[in-house]
Symmetry: C2
Subunit: 194 residues, 2 copies
Amino acid sequence: MRDKKYHHGNLKEALIEAGLEILSESGLSDLSLRTCAARVGVSHTAPKNHFGNMNGLLTAIAARGYEQLAEHMRRGLPENPTRHEVRNAAFEGYVDFARAQPALFELMYSSGRTTRDDPALKAGVGACFEILREASMNLDWDKAGAPDAELRAQIMSWSLVHGFAQLLLAGKLDKDATKALGVLDVVPDFGFRA
Amino acid sequence: MRDKKYHHGNLKEALIEAGLEILSESGLSDLSLRTCAARVGVSHTAPKNHFGNMNGLLTAIAARGYEQLAEHMRRGLPENPTRHEVRNAAFEGYVDFARAQPALFELMYSSGRTTRDDPALKAGVGACFEILREASMNLDWDKAGAPDAELRAQIMSWSLVHGFAQLLLAGKLDKDATKALGVLDVVPDFGFRA
DNA sequence: AGATAATATATACACTGGAAACATTTGATC
DNA sequence: GATCAAATGTTTCCAGTGTATATATTATCT
């Protein structure tokens, strides 16, 4: 880094990755414009050109998070997976991701820190939502047959797995409870009747 | 308030209520030691004597939040409620509370801002958990009969209703989806088979 | 080459939580 | 009642935060 250039060249991407690193290493409270900028070696006002403000940077980081979450939910799937395999992978991957990246997960689902209408963010959320749609198909819930049975099952699946992940991260499920249930064992098989 | 006394007399309680008001009126981002202290008319370092630091104040506020949530989950119950009425009231009350107090709800379930081991906080969480236990009794899930079937049903109930509430607050369920489902209509009757 | 836009810096400001020293009041003990 | 210790608040200061403004540097396009 002898000849440090005035223009970084790929600052936008570098800042997002710096943010992801900070979230992974430290936590959400240590993620700031200044820590991100410092890690990249740039002044703390440089991000403004690419993200507008803190909200914009956080939104971009959260969007990347949803992409990673979608990856996680498809990880380890065989070539032509059965519907049951898709469901198991999706639910296991969801909780796995939350536990592996708690700070990022918290940012992704916090209400005021990100901009909901952001296209990249909505795309990431949409990718996850699509996986959950596939994972929830042909679930024989009680109200199956109702006009919006599929959407209903999809939202219930998402609620169930997300609520479980969040309660886990928030420490609301004590160790006895989770151990008795087998945590990851209970998740993919939430009592759904195939 | 002519003769303003040096000692407030009930500062601890006043600060908690000020915090609840700020959360209700403005939002989590506007809640600070200084805004709380200013609302009570006291210096911004006064809270230290009662709560130690910001974390302590937030923990106390969150604990109060769980008490309010427990109230909400029992609101409007008749004298000798049926199990179905208990369940409906608990689930409706849970989502109702989240929508009525989104900022407080976010604080209550955020990971790093509060101290998990705090006795008052644990008591509040315990009260809610107990209501959920009652609301989940005799649920005929697939794995009913297993040694920990009841705890399992309890955790699933909590995950389901909490996940739904959080996804709602985070704006992940678009209006078409929630409208198609009837939101509060779907909550108390999540496909449980009585 | 020269104008213009994009990108990064420098500086200043209001805000935050917390540490330290000090002031005031309360309450217990003699 | 006087006295001394503990509890309760204030004052002052500091490092850290996001952002607005003005400025400097580079890239791009005609």
